[in-house]
């Protein structure tokens, strides 16, 4: 249940930001895509829309909201699950509701507004997807949005953080069938987050070389993961000398995307946009360097012996 930001701009009369702080992290989200816009269907713009902010603290974004709901830290999953029950007229006790930091009156009002809007939209940020519960918190909100379609039009969309992470997601899906957490060790893509996702792989020490591009795990990951990157040969591509570059065996400086490297980037709603670099970099682009590394690898013996067919791990037995 997702849509492009243009749909939100044109039609959404009810917008909920959950666990995100667009005013400070995505400053133009309000003005360009959501609450401030006027459209054919919502001619009075901001006046025709209701905006709700759900977060654990009153951020700057709360000023822009019609309703601010302060949820107790770590209670997002419980609160969304309560909402799922309430929209189906299931009874949830006052004490149970109070544990999440909000009141029954606030939730009854929210449910009523959700059901009576014409087009509702949830945006969820890292305050939801990166806290205890992680993917299940996001799944909860997506499920709530899906279930709301029994009453009215409702969608949910993640507020993706860094740059072109959406592009990586989209491309991996079409080329491998999976969005992340993939292994090719049997010659075809397999997927299992937790098993093949980077933090877990590094903390357990499951890889014996690492190629890092467009990220700085040396600055952001837990120490055991960083320690493993130091132990193994790490190769790093970045426009700057980063923490990862400093622990890497090989660093290559590359042109910055969109500043001096051309190409494409995906917006958080999976729309691709062309990049228009203003400057000419003295460094090669990521694309060029990775392609050249791939070529150098392809000139070495192929890892699968001629005629060997790795055993597939299939779901059916």
């Amino acid at each position: 249940m997702t849509c492009t930001l243009g749909e939100v701009k044109q039609r959404a009369d009810f917008i909920v930001y959950w666990g995100g702080n667009p005013a400070e992290c995505h400053p133009r989200h309000f003005t360009k895509y959501t609450i401030m816009q006027k459209s054919k269907f919502l001619p009075r713009g901001r006046k025709d829309r209701t905006m709700v902010l759900v977060d654990i603290r009153e951020t700057k974004s709360a000023k822009a909201a019609d309703i601010f709901m302060q949820v107790k830290p770590g209670k997002d999953f419980e609160l969304i699950t309560i909402l799922r029950a309430l929209i189906k007229h299931q009874h949830v006790g006052d004490d149970q509701i109070a544990e999440t930091g909000v009141t029954r009156e606030m939730l009854d009002d929210l449910v009523q507004r959700m059901k009576s809007c014409k087009f509702g939209c949830f945006f969820f940020g890292m305050g939801l997807s990166m806290t205890r519960g992680k993917h299940m918190n996001s799944a909860a909100l997506l499920t709530l949005a899906a279930e709301m379609n029994a009453f009215t039009k409702f969608v949910a969309m993640p507020m993706r953080g860094h740059g072109n992470v959406t592009g990586a997601d989209v491309i991996m899906r079409w080329q491998t069938g999976y969005p992340f957490g993939i292994t090719f060790n049997r010659g075809y893509p397999r997927y299992n987050p937790g098993e093949f996702s980077t933090v877990d792989v590094l903390v357990r020490g499951d890889c014996d070389a690492a190629f890092i591009i467009g990220a700085d795990p040396g600055a952001t990951m837990p120490q055991p993961a960083i320690d493993h990157l130091k132990r193994i040969p790490t190769i790093c591509l970045d426009p700057h000398i980063t923490h990862t570059s400093k622990l890497a065996r090989v660093h290559i400086t590359t042109a910055a995307q969109g500043i001096s490297a051309p190409g494409t980037a995906y917006r958080m709603d999976e729309l691709p946009l062309p990049l228009k670099p203003a400057l000419k970099s003295p460094y090669p682009t990521d694309e060029d360097v990775v392609r050249r590394i791939n070529k150098a690898i392809s000139e070495k013996p192929f890892w699968l012996p001629e005629g060997s067919q790795p055993q597939m791990i299939t779901a059916q037995v």
Partner: protein, 115 residues
Amino acid sequence: MTLQIIDNATCTFCGCVCDDIQLHHDEVRIHEAKKACVLGTAWFLNHTAEKKYPDALIDGKEATVEEAIQTAATLLHEADMPLVYGMSNTTCEAQKECVAMADQLGGLLDSHTSL
């Protein structure tokens, strides 16, 4: 000084990927990013076309790009379980090459999303 202008440039700092930015630059640095937010402006103004860093480093020593590419290829090729990771701050074109790399290496492939 007359600055060159790029219309409808795309900002990749955050997931909004605003594509209506007007950049004023002198080929070395960007002096103004009209319509960009504070975060986007900082992103555009902090990058320059100057050569601030060495082309490449191998074990902390300066090297040519070609040397670094060959070393990288050798290290990755020798590994039994190489990992290709990141891909947030890069172009789709580079991302496709990264998927091709993991496919060719028989390795692990993961992005920022898994964090």
